[in-house]
Structure formats: C-alpha cells, structure tokens
Symmetry: D2
Subunit: 295 residues, 4 copies
C-alpha cells in the first residue's frame, strides 16, 4: 500500500519535496543526495523506482528538511537545474509541503464521494485546499454548506455542454491545481481537458478494465461476478482508459440486488478516490505511459 | 463467504442433501420441511434463495439427518417426487454426504493448482475422491506420485486435438462426476464438453470479465491495474464466459514485474479453485442462466 | 459476510420478521413454516443455525410477506405462541419491517462514527430512526444539525457521573430501542446499563481481545503489530468483554505513527459500527452466551 | 505490503545488499550513495526509514550492482567500514544476492507450513537453501522426500528435552543461517535459542497479542471473534512475545466449528510464514527493540 506523509511533514514550512524522472544510469541517487547534503538539507525519506533493472526510466521522490526553505526555494531550484538536472537530462519538480494544492471537486447528485473528501479534509487527513465545489445539480448545496466551501451550481447536460464547459473553465482556469470528478456524471470534452490546465482525477464505479462505460453495477450483476470494485484514474481523452491510480473491491454474492451493489460499491468508491487524491496531493503519483508509479 | 459442511457432516452415512429449484410460490419451504419431518428426517441446515421477492426462481439446499438413509434413499426419492416435486413443478437432486464425488483433474505443466487440490484433499478439507490426473505433459508425474492418484499422460496439442480428446473421453466418460481444469492450457472443443457427461470447472488467471483470453497477467501489467485476480467458472462453449463460481484478487503495484504477477496470482488461483471445487462437491452451487447461486 | 435485507423488504408494511430460539429437535422448521403457510404468509427468506449437530440450541430468522400484517399482527403473535412456541418451548419475537428501531447515538468529540451513521441513514442504507444524539461535549452540534436530529449536550465526566447518567436515562428510557456508543468516551455504570431498558452497542478501537482497555492504538504501535482493527460489541457490565457483533482490520507497517493508526483505524471503526448497527436493526443478531449469531 | 527482490536480482552474482543502522543525522544517504558511486556500483533500489523525523534511528537497505562483486567483496566491506560506517557510528551488513541463506525447518506432525515452504522454494519463490528438516515425529518423512531435502527425526518431548536439544544443536550449529519453526509444537529453552547461533522464526496460530499461548483457535471460538489470524515472529525467550514480522487474518462466523477455524487458519499460517521467511532471506527485516522494520 502506498504511504502518506505523516503529520510531522504536512504543512511544515521547511519541508520540501523533490520529484524527478530521467533515463536510469549509475550515480543518480548519489548526485541528488550529495546536492541536498551540500545545500544543508536533511533527507527525511527517499523513494525511487526504475522501470527496468538496466536501461529503464528512473523516478525518485525525496522529502527533505531545509531551514529557510521558503526564502531559498527559487535559488535551490535554479541550482539543482544547473548542477544536477541538466547534466543528467532530468525532468524535475520542487514543491513545498506547506503549500497544499488548490482543488476543485465536481459533482452531480451522489453525495458519498464528495462528502467523504470534504470530511477527510476537514479532519486534516488530506493535504489539499478545496477552493470550490461545482455541481450540475443543486441537490448537494445543503450538504456542502457546513464545510464552508463555495458551492457553485453550473447546469450541464448534453444539449448545453459548450456553455457549461465555458462557465466551468472560467471558474477553474488558473485557480486550481487539480480537478476531482466525484461521481460527476457528465462527459467532459477533450477541449475542456486540454484547456483546464491541470490534472483531473475521476472515480469509475467498476474494477477497470472490466465494465468500461455506463451502468457497471447492472452489468456486474448480469455477469454474476463475485466482487465489485472502483477505480480512480487520471482523465484522458479516452473514456475510462486513463492511467489508474488506485483500485479496490468488495465481495458480493447472489443475494445482492443491483441496488445493493450500488450501496456496497459506494463505500469502495469513496475510499479509493480519497486515497488517489491524497497521493496526488502529496506528489506521489508519477505518470509513465498509461500507467502510474505511486511512490 | 459461502459456507462448507463441517466435519460432522462430511462422510456421515445418514446425512442427505436435497437440492431443488422451481418457480417461487407460497408454501414451498413448508411443503419440503413437512415432508422431511414426516419421513423422520431432522433438518440440520436449510438455505434458500429466491431471485425476486415475488415471481422469481426459488432454490433450496437442505441438509438432513435420517437414520437408515442408505437403504431408504431410493424410496425417499420416489416419494418426494410424487408428493412434493411433481405438484410444485420442481427440479430436485438427492445426494448422500457419504458418497463423495469422483473427480478428474486435468493439468499441463503448472503445479500450483493441482498440488493444492491434492494436498487439501489428503488433509480431508475437500469432499471428493480424485480418481485420476490427466496431463498433456509428463512433467508433474513425480509430484503427483506421493498422493497415490493415477497420473495419466495424454499428449495434447492443437494438431492432435481429436485423438487426444477421444483418449480423454475414453478415460473420463462414466468414471467421474466432475472434471477440474487446473491450469490445463488446451482449449476443449464443444463436442468434448458435450460428450464428457459431467460438469467441468476451469480456473482463469484474471478477474473476469477483465482480461478474457490469453496472457492476462501481461495485459494486466500493461494496463497498470492495482489488483490482479483469478476466476473459477463452469466451462461452456464460450471461452471464459461460463458461470462464475468464485473470484478473488491480490494487491500489486508498479514494482511488480509480469513474473511477479504470475507468482502472486498463483496463490489466488489455487485458493479460488479449491473453494469452487469444494462448494461444487458439497452440492452448493446452482446454475441459473449464466450466474451461479452458492448456497 | 452477513447479509442485509434489500430495499424490497425494508419499510414494506406487509413484511414481518420472526425470530426464535429453542432447544434443537426434529420438526422445528416444518412446524414454523407450516404455521406461516396456513396463515397465508409467504416465506421470503429463512436462515437458521444450530449450535451443535444434535442437541444444540436452534435459532431461526424468517422473513415473510403477509397481506394485512399490521392489522393481523397481534392475533398472529398469539396464535404462534399457542400453536408453535409453547409446544416447542421457544423464545420468539415478531417484528414488522415497516417499523424501524428508534436509536439514540451517544458521542463525545470524535465525529467519524457518528457522522457515518447519520450519512448512511440519510441515504437509506440503515434501517433505523435516529431520535437523538447525546454528547458529553458540545463540539459536534454543528456537524449534526444538517441531519435534522436533536443534539442534546449532557456534560458527563467521572465527578458528575450520577447526575449525568440520570439525565441520560430521563432522555432514553422508553424512547429508544437501541443505544449506540459512537466513540462515547465515558464508562457507563452497570446501573445505567440495567435501567436503560434496551441493548447498547459499543465500538472498541482494537481487534478484541487484543488491547482491551485504554489507548489501544498506542499499545498496538508499541507491540509492533502489522494490522490494527475495531470491534463492535454489545455492552455488558464487563468492559470490552461483551458479545462481539462485528470486527475488521487494516494493514499497517513501521512507517505509521500512532496518529496514522488512529486515522486508519477510524475508517475501520466507522465501517464496523455501521454494519453492526444495521444487522441489529434488521433483527439479525442473536445473543448466545457471550457470542453472537448473525443470521 | 513489503516488497521482494525480483528474479532479476535473486541469485545474480554481481548484486550486493547493504544493510545499515545508526543514529539519524544529515548526510547519511549522500555518504552511502557517494561511496557506492565512487566504487563503480549502481544503486538498483534503496529503502530507508527513520523512527523519528529528527533524532531517531536511521535504517537503510540498498541493493546495488557491482561488476566483480564476489572478488571485491572483502575489500569493499573494509573500505565501507573505514570511510562510512566508522565515521557515522553505523552497524552494517553486506551480503551477496548469489548466496542464499541456509535454512533448517523444524516441524512436528502438521504439514501445511512445511510443505508450503518446500514447494515455494522449489518453484524459486523463496530465496533460500533448505539444508534439513528436523521433526520430532516421523509422520512427514514421506511428504518431504520428493523435495530432496534431508529429513531428520529427532524425538522430542518434555521429558527428554535436554537430549533432544543437544542433538538438534549438533545438527544446526554452524550449518544454518536461519531456523524456521513450521508448527513445531515443542517449547525451546533459552539455552537452545542462545546456543543455536542464528535467528529463529516461529508461526503462531493467532493474531498476536490476542490468544497468546496454547489452543488459540479454541479460545477464539469461545470468545466469538469474527476473524482468526496468524503471526510470524522472531523467537525470543518470552513465548509469543518476540518481534512480529508479519500477520494476517481470515473472516469466520458462527457457523464455523473449532475444526473449521483450524482449517481456515492453516491457509493464513502458511501464507504468513512464507512471507516472513522470504523477507528475512532477502535481508529486509531489521529488528528494532521488540518491533521489526521490513524494508
């Protein structure tokens, strides 16, 4: 199971996260850790993965403590680029644990995923700042109100998709680092996905790639499966085909009606989506082709 | 989770199992239990299921204790047919717990499912008599020998399918109540399935309906799923489409190679197949369309 | 896994539940089902259990459909007593699915179990009517308000236990069928448990019997266990020793601090408590000595 | 879930494992990785853990590839001691992946843990060489024979404990790197544990610390728990109190007799013990007080 950063780390102002990716070669770990040591940073944790024993893609996530990080951040980034990233041909990203990601949640009428995200975040379990909830139905406004998060009703259905997406883009663009589709039941166009300018995470109510598309619980019942599941994945232009971040299942049997599958599946959906959002917000998820590496 | 009959029941000579199926209507449970009570039988357990609250298909499995069952069996069957089954339009089956099913296991070169079945059966965990192992490769002969079960090598590959199936049918027909395909890697023809004259259970190395067909672990790796699974199902003419008896999954992540998935999946395969075989041998599995009811 | 009654059953006015318990003997199932058939009732489901193959305690839960049940209920109860229960020496209870149990939830400052019960009930997943929340701290008043359930603050701590319990008894006695302790952190006296006049269900934050008593997560960390769990049980005079209704666990490892165990355990606590409350409200849980039978 | 080294690593002659432990301080990862880089070694994977964010105990496991390792090993060890370990006050251990640990398995009459270890090892799933099986009963000799491992019958019971332990020590001392107690039902004396000169891993048939001591399944049934489990731990002088390496559980209910718990628990025991042995053999398990860190 993927880890999470503890309370000691989350929100601390001198804690940084360094993510990087490059072709694997000897000396990578040494180069990065030497750079950090010489800067005065102490490595708190370091996770790496190579897609192949030799000649694969190398990825590393490093959490470090550096007194004065907020002031030193920009210089650190420049120095790392010159001294390490450029010589090794690395992509990298440097983030501060004290700056949680700004997240918008999009929902329709189902409350379980939305409320679980809001509630966990209020408890401090997730590492994000929910800046708005956008819903294409007004039903969940009352349930969201106690959490103090703006609830914005943007009617959306197939016939008015263009206007709806334009209004959503006006709200989102530049304002959020992540969009979470918490059982948002409208299809988003490739144009929207391109323009929104940040990743989107969706929860699909089946164990993908089984039951791609509509009505997965009904089809699960018809096929007579003994487990139903849920899948959190990044949204791409191909419906239900994006990189999978997390999945889980629950046992069912012949006594369960389709309604029962919906109810039991809801528990799995909210758990899976919450884990995927947490890992994303903690900079743990690296996309690699159509797969994810969760460090 | 489906139950199993305890050691108190398995193999006891006065214990009977009554399975029945008919259109649901009031008075079914009463009619059956009154019949048994008047016969002097004591109901040890009774499980029933109706596919709909009203107007569905009714299924019931009853375990009862009747002193002198072996001698009384035939008369009991006739009386039940006349007094209960015919009036209610029931299909039914009456079996004796003391007569375990005769089972043939078909295997190729992978030992994990085959050996787990043989081990569990030697320990008394399964309720069957393994009368032969048929393999299309000789590799597993040594591993089977200590169990005292005949190992029969019947070479089989696409080019000689007809001769192979004929030899297999000669061995199986009339001699077994169940054929278990324990990672038997050859496709069996509809003609074979029809002629063999008993049910076949197969283990497929994926969580069906995901990854139907060949190389499921490789395709699971390519899709980046976070769980891999296995499915035990009855064999029908449509490959991997038969009624599912049991499924399970195990968690995997980016660090696992395809070989790792094969290794981790093997544990799930053997557990799932063993449960499916046990439930079948205890007359718990009722086929209903392309689904199973496991009572 | 224990089942639940589907949406077809819950709240329907002509659906009854019959629970009974007596020394096992032949003819019990027949007598009960004949009685119901002759009354015009159709058995929807029937689950029974005997603690021993012969000579044990027999328990049965029967769901039936009887047109006109609300009007016929009292007479049905009398007739069953005379015709079946008395001759067989049965304890029994007849309830109507249309009359959900009246439940009080007692809480302190932790919101996860309380909110999950209220959420699930609002979604129609549980089969109860929450008539009040009693808390010994005012903290959760705002979180409860949107659910439209009375929130009553009754300060309680060791020094004022007698007055607090008296106030609680004044609120509860005669008004509720079940009290749920949703991480209510005060010990209740045997006198309270006796006087409250209905069962109490508690959630303990460990996998009992491991870590009975205070600070189970801290002690779990110190012992280095690899799983932490939660246990829902009926409250008896012996702390953490009452009959267990449901338990579950979650995997942890060396990277988890005590705070992490608290966070991960909270998910298990709320899931386990919700299942136990549902099963109790559906009349599925039969106490037998210090164990429970969940039919 | 703890990882395992892939087939790419296991048994490769140029792959080394470096385990180390010291008080945490800045620059540790850098110092070790620089040393390896300068030696010409390529880091394949690196896992570390610190028991506290600041001021804790630091542990690291590094897998590296160094051409010519077998010849260079001794010099590498000396250099690392002088250049890194001594300055930082480290304990460390350097092992070669090509040299599997020599393991003795001790058993009594239960075959499930023993056979699962032997079978997995034959498949190449474990990273060990089983050099002998010592049993205090002759029952399992036939089952062990096909695996080609010496089976040595050393009668042992309370009355002849001293002689038995002396014979066992004569067999084990100097010949094995690990002793696995695979449901070996005799208590070993502190003197034996001290003299045997290598770690011992035991499988206890309960979810410790629940049901320490004898007859855990019977006591689990009596307490009415809803899950039963198994625990693999290092053996210390305190029975069932040693550092836990791995645990798992399986769901049970009121229908299961004690015999059923034994049967279902056996599956958990063999899985848990196999994982613990694998992790130990791959140098993943670091003892820290009475806990284990599994990297």
């Amino acid at each position: 199971m993927v880890e999470h950063d503890g309370a000691d780390i989350r929100g601390q102002k001198d804690i940084g996260r360094l993510l990087l990716r490059c072709a694997d070669r000897p000396g990578l770990v040494a180069a990065v850790s030497r750079f950090l040591a010489e800067t005065g940073a102490n490595i708190i944790s370091l996770d790496q993965h190579s897609t192949e024993p030799i000649g694969g893609m190398f990825m590393q996530r490093t959490i470090f403590h550096l007194p004065g990080l907020p002031a030193a951040r920009d210089e650190l980034e420049r120095d790392f680029a010159v001294q390490v990233a450029d010589p090794f041909g690395m992509d990298f990203r440097l983030t501060e644990a004290a700056k949680p990601k700004r997240v918008a949640v999009m929902a329709s009428t189902e409350d379980h995923c939305l409320l679980d995200l809001l509630w966990r975040n209020r408890r401090g379990e997730l590492d994000m700042s929910v800046v708005m909830v956008i819903a294409n139905h007004p039903d969940l406004a009352d349930a969201v109100r106690p959490f103090g998060v703006p609830f914005i009703h943007v009617p959306a259905r197939r016939e008015i998709r263009d206007e709806a997406e334009q209004r959503q883009l006006d709200l989102l663009r530049g304002n959020v680092d992540l969009v979470v589709l918490a059982r948002y039941m409208q299809i988003l166009t490739p144009s929207f996905i391109e323009q929104v300018g940040c990743p989107l995470i969706n929860i699909h109510h089946s164990f993908l790639p089984a039951f791609v598309g509509a009505s997965p619980y009904r089809r699960a019942k018809e096929r007579g499966v003994k487990l139903v599941g849920a899948t959190a994945h990044y949204v791409t232009d191909d419906l239900d085909e994006g990189p999978i971040i997390e999945q889980d299942v629950v046992r069912v049997d012949h006594r369960h009606s389709i309604d029962d599958l919906v109810r039991l599946g809801a528990d799995v959906e909210r758990a899976v989506l919450s884990r995927a959002v947490l890992w994303h917000c903690e900079d743990r998820v690296i996309r690699y082709g159509n797969q994810t590496i969760c460090l």
